[in-house]
Symmetry: C2
């Protein structure tokens, strides 16, 4: 949603939780499948130095770029050298003040942190289903990235507008420490962690444990606590410093 109303922004961020959790639950249905991430094991001709995961990510993003995905601020690509959109994408006027969205692109940090979470939610081993595995990896990565960048752009712009004088001074002084303090609301963060843990447990409560792998709610809490929330704030800070 395109808005600078912090309540609505928080609502959008909240709504993305179900999407992220359900992709991670999906990923948990496959084993860790290290082969899918090993360069040279894809058997794709012409991609000798890459893993199946990397090849799929590049091809998926090329297609998504043709469809105009990366005109949307919160959709930041993981790869480079992407083609222009082939279709006309008409977006509503943006309240953001940034000349190039890719100035704020945290995807290179998202991939390694996603791999750590993957290792917490997947049973170790090889089930041979590499194709499905990397499809779901990319869905999960895109959803996590959307959450982080949406927060980075819109939360930062909203906070800036709520107290322009204070923020302008801190930005001019490059006072990162004080900016980070203003961007941090421990009670909100605590509420998010409780909520995503509850959702992860609840969404799997009716699943038949003999056929579904149940992913631990702690892995979802850790994902938010250690990665999504800090990376979102890192993005907010970067957005403000360039504003």
């Amino acid at each position: 949603m395109i808005t600078t109303d912090l309540t609505k922004i928080a609502a959008t961020l909240e709504s993305l939780e179900e999407t992220i959790i359900s992709y991670l639950i999906d990923r948990g249905q496959y084993k860790s499948n290290p082969s899918a991430y090993t360069p040279g094991e894809s058997s794709f001709p012409g991609y000798k130095d890459q893993s199946l995961f990397n090849i799929r990510l590049q091809m998926q993003e090329k297609m998504d770029a043709q469809f105009g995905r990366y005109y949307v601020p919160e959709e930041r690509p993981f790869t480079t050298g992407l083609p222009d959109a082939e279709r006309l994408v008409i977006l509503p006027e943006s309240p953001l003040r940034i000349s190039n969205y890719n100035t704020i692109n945290l995807t290179s940090e998202i991939i390694p942190m996603y791999f750590k979470i993957r290792d917490q939610i997947c049973v170790e081993g090889d089930d041979g289903q590499y194709g499905s595995t990397v499809v779901i990896d990319i869905l999960a990565l895109q959803a996590i990235s959307r959450r982080i960048h949406y927060g980075a752009f819109y939360v930062a712009e909203s906070k800036f507008r709520s107290d322009e004088a204070t923020y302008r001074k801190l930005i001019n002084d490059k006072n990162q420490e004080e900016l980070m303090r203003l961007l941090t609301r421990p009670e909100v963060e605590e509420r998010i962690l409780i909520r995503v843990g509850e959702k992860a447990r609840h969404m799997q409560a009716l699943s038949n444990k003999s056929v579904r792998t149940i992913i631990p709610e702690d892995s979802i809490i850790a994902l938010y606590k250690d990665y999504i929330i800090p990376l979102t704030k890192k993005g907010e800070l970067a957005y403000l410093l360039q504003r």
Copy 2:
């Protein structure tokens, strides 16, 4: 899972329910977006007579074909003219007895039925997010198709093996009515409908209704009752008749 054990097959089918329901919940977060399905409104050059949905479906399946998706029996393509896989796909030996999986391909019936369900779960209107809309459409369609074709192939083969003499005679006699009677277990179907309704309600129970569209459990029950179960049985019958 590759097996002819009916209990394990049922478990795999059960496990696919969460995946189907969660994609439909995702789709419900976007409006119906008729523009995405209208030929000529995609603004893609060279695709004047097609809708954005159709273009995406073709491009997605081309990519999936390169990754070897359609070597898997239950992954039947919605489009034709697809390229061969570029990677080596090694599958375990199949217990199925069919020379060409595409003999059983119900995708042309799945698309119109999916559109009916989409109209039940989406708020009517246009939110401009056509790109995301068609991405989720395709995920939902692929999951529904996987459920139907997995059932069609493996349930039919399993039942055949459980009473080979009876089935062989009915197949030779082309006795479709009696075959369909043997393939129908009303108490199992009833249990599935109750279960998917409960899952649909439960998976959304903690969602904040001010930010998430809650999709009616009745639409999920109707999807299974009117489409998924009958189409699976139609596929089972077709598989047996060619066996």
